[in-house]
Every structure is written in structure tokens, then in C-alpha cells.
């Protein structure tokens, strides 16, 4: 379980997250929506310690992410993350991209790591691109490669930071389908997204962020059909 208590994050004078309280249970899919600059992505960065926090706690299965004694590199193996930009390693083939972390972080043998890579690439529908370099793949394929790369570490949670925002419109579907597949398989996911259709169809709960505050959280029907907060209503009216 991911437990966030009274989380505050500042960038200099800018107060980006203002006391977030949130719990995400195993197997749950949470979508985080909100306008740009509302602190959605920063929340993900604080969950896997890519950003330091100023106040509060973030716990993953009871382990305090920001405690000095925590082995962050080990903890991150539980947390797969996919970014807006796919960040494929350009000097490695698709297989090598996926096999690298299992080999050097988990200490798997080369053959074992390549086997994992092949399985995960087939899982995301890239079975025919095993030997391709990222430069030969489309944006959508590279994003699926990034998902396979994260899955190869056998994470218990997946964090998606606007995984489809940088894609050409016709490539968005293939990445969302892969995310849907993971949700159906029972993966615990936090998805920061602008894809309202995905948030509504796939999520167990949707959270709306506004200026660093979690204004509203609840089942998709509640957020999309009967939002309580005036900010949520205004946001949804604008994106529809």
C-alpha cells in the first residue's frame, strides 16, 4: 500500500504540494487529473524519491521513502515509472534496454535478463522489435518499450506521468491499451493523465488536483458526473 500523509513540497518559494493525504491500496488504479502546474507530476516524483519533500511522510508497504535509512535504489525496484518522454537508451536495442536493469540491478544472468526482456516486450506487443534500436521505433512503440523496461523489474506499483502527452494522437491508443492491460492484470497504478476517457473507464478512483491541493477524490462516476468542488466542475467543463 502507498500511504501519503500531510505531504508538503516546495520549489524555492513555490509551494507545489500543500498537505496531501492519500492512500492507494494494492490492485487499485488511481488516476490523477488536474490542470498543468497543479502538482500531479511532483506527487509521483515525491513517491519514488526523485524529489525531496519538506514535510510529511510517504510510505510504501510501511517503508518510509524519505527516511535517511531507506535504501532508495532497492525501494525503487517496487515502483516502476513511465514518463511523458519515453527516455529509451539510444545505444541499446529494445531487448538490451529492457534487460539492462534486471542484469545490473537485480544481478540476473545475461541469458535470464534477455529472457525477461523478450517476455516483457512480447507482453506490450513489441515481440517483432526485439533487435530494433529506439531510433527505429515510433513514439508509441518507444513508450511501450519504456513500460516493458519498467515491468522487467517486476514492480508492485506502476507510476505513469502523463505517459501519452508527448505522443502523436494516433499513437495514444496503443499506449492506453497497454496501460489498460496492466490494470486488468491487477497492477497497482497511479496514472497522472489528461486522458479523461481512460481515467473514467479504467480507474477505481480519480483524484482532482488544483494548485497543490487534492480537491476531490472518489470513484470516476462521482468525479465526472457529480463533482462536488467548484474547481473540479470548472476543469471538467473545460476539458470536455
Amino acid at each position: 500500500m502507498i500511504e501519503i500523509r500531510n505531504l508538503h513540497k516546495h520549489f524555492g518559494d513555490l509551494h507545489v504540494l500543500k498537505g496531501i493525504d492519500l492512500e492507494v491500496k494494492k490492485g487499485e488504479v488511481l488516476s490523477v487529473i488536474g490542470s498543468s502546474g497543479s502538482g500531479k507530476s511532483t506527487l509521483l516524483y515525491c513517491i519514488n524519491s526523485l524529489e525531496k519533500i519538506q514535510q510529511g511522510t510517504v510510505k510504501i508497504d510501511g517503508i518510509d521513502v524519505h527516511a535517511k535509512s531507506t535504501d532508495v535504489n532497492k525501494l525503487r525496484q517496487k515502483l516502476g515509472m513511465v514518463f511523458q518522454q519515453w527516455n529509451s537508451f539510444p545505444h541499446l536495442t529494445a531487448m538490451e534496454n529492457v534487460a539492462l536493469a534486471p542484469r545490473i540491478v537485480k544481478g540476473k544472468s545475461k541469458a535470464e535478463a534477455l529472457h525477461i526482456a523478450e517476455t516483457q516486450l512480447k507482453h506490450v506487443g513489441l515481440g517483432d522489435k526485439l533487435k530494433s534500436y529506439p531510433s527505429a521505433l515510433s513514439g508509441g512503440q518507444q513508450q511501450r518499450l519504456a513500460i516493458a523496461r519498467a515491468l522487467a523489474m517486476e514492480p508492485e506499483y506502476m507510476l505513469f506521468d502523463e505517459a501519452t502527452s508527448a505522443l502523436d494522437p494516433e499513437k495514444v491508443g496503443e499506449v492506453l491499451d497497454t496501460m489498460r492491460l496492466l490494470a486488468e492484470e491487477g497492477m497497482t497504478m497511479i496514472c497522472v493523465t489528461h486522458e479523461m476517457g481512460f481515467a473514467r473507464d479504467v480507474s477505481d478512483r480519480v483524484a482532482y488536483f488544483h494548485h497543490g491541493v487534492m480537491e476531490e477524490i472518489g470513484p470516476p462516476e462521482q468525479i465526472f458526473d457529480n463533482p462536488v468542488s467548484a474547481h473540479t466542475q470548472k476543469f471538467l467543463a473545460n476539458v470536455r
Binding site: K74, R76, G80, Q85, F89, A101
Partner: protein, 220 residues
Amino acid sequence: MQETITFFSGFGISDFWFLADAALKTLWISVLSISVGTVLGVIFGWMLHEGKWLAALTIGSILDIFRSVPLIIQLVLFYNFAPMIGLNLDPFGSGVVILTIYTAALVSNVARGGIEAVPTPMRKASRTLGMSYWQDLFYIVLPIGGRAVFPAWIGVVLGVMKDSALVSVLGYVELLKASQILITRTQEPFLILALAGAFYFALSYPISRYAAKFEQRWAQ
């Protein structure tokens, strides 16, 4: 009949081998300086990147001096003044020390550029896979940044190899010094300088060709 004494004699095959041997010495002093200088330069470049203003103020300033002062002055100063601090190095040793620091100074900037050529999000992505700082540095930053600045590094290599000719001012008989000796004896500057140039070309050209091949392969 009175015999005439000749001071000059023509260019012979043994002189060719003399030049070839000197070319090997140029190669040796260059390989040694460039290898050690590159390793040091990468370490300095990393320190400049990570250490920010503190590193820029300390090592950055020292490396700036080595980059800015003409190599010939560095060589003469070091060779003549190093014994004052107990460093009695022969011309070869002095040449290696100065060429190494000079290479390191040039490579440090190239290396820093290479590290900075790897986008921060990519480094964050590798860290989210559980890689440690050092794993990210060796498996991601070094190969990606290295490729980005490889042409610049080759430029440094070729430059240092040609600049190694300046070690001749200390009396080390490398290619240029050997040519000067032969010119004095044979009085055939055109032939000998052309030969010395051909030797430099033979040393540098394969490096450029191999470099171009690597770049081509990486571009695919």
C-alpha cells in the same frame, strides 16, 4: 691530390629507419599521454559537472591555465624548474607529464560536455529502474555522452599527437627532432620534411578513418 672533407652526406635507407624509429617515439609518447590524460580528463570533467562552482574555482582554474598557456612554454618551464622541487625527469618524462596534463585539461571540457549531453529525464529514468548513481554513470551516461563527444575527443587526440612535436625543444628525439638532425646533415629539407609529414599523416589518418567508421556504425 688533396682530399676534401665533407660535412654533409646524402639521405640513405638507414636515415629512413631513423625517422621511422622517431615516428614510433612520437606514437609512444602520444599514446601514453593521451591514454592517461583522457582518464584524468574524464575524472576532472565529472568533477567539474558535479562540483559546480567549487570545482570550477579550483580544478577549473588550474586546467584553464594549462589550456591557455602555449604548450612549448609549459614544456620548457616544467623541464627546467621541476628539478627545483626534486623532480629530475628526462626530456621524455617531462614531455609525458606536460602532455598528459595538457590532454587532461582539453578532455575535461569535452567530458563535461558529454555528461551534460545526456538529458536529465533519461538519468531520472535509469534511477527509477533502481540503478545506483554509479550504475547510471557507467551504463547510461558514459556510453551515451561518450558517443556524443567522440568526434571532439578525436580532435583532441589528433591535436595532441601533432603537438607532441614540441617535446623536441627538450631534446627528445621524436619525429620532428629527428627530421631536424637529418636536415642539418643532408641539407635536404624538402625531402625530409615531406617524409616527416608523411609519417605524421600515417599516424593520424587511420585514427580519423576508424573514428568515422565508429560514428557511422553508431548513427545506424
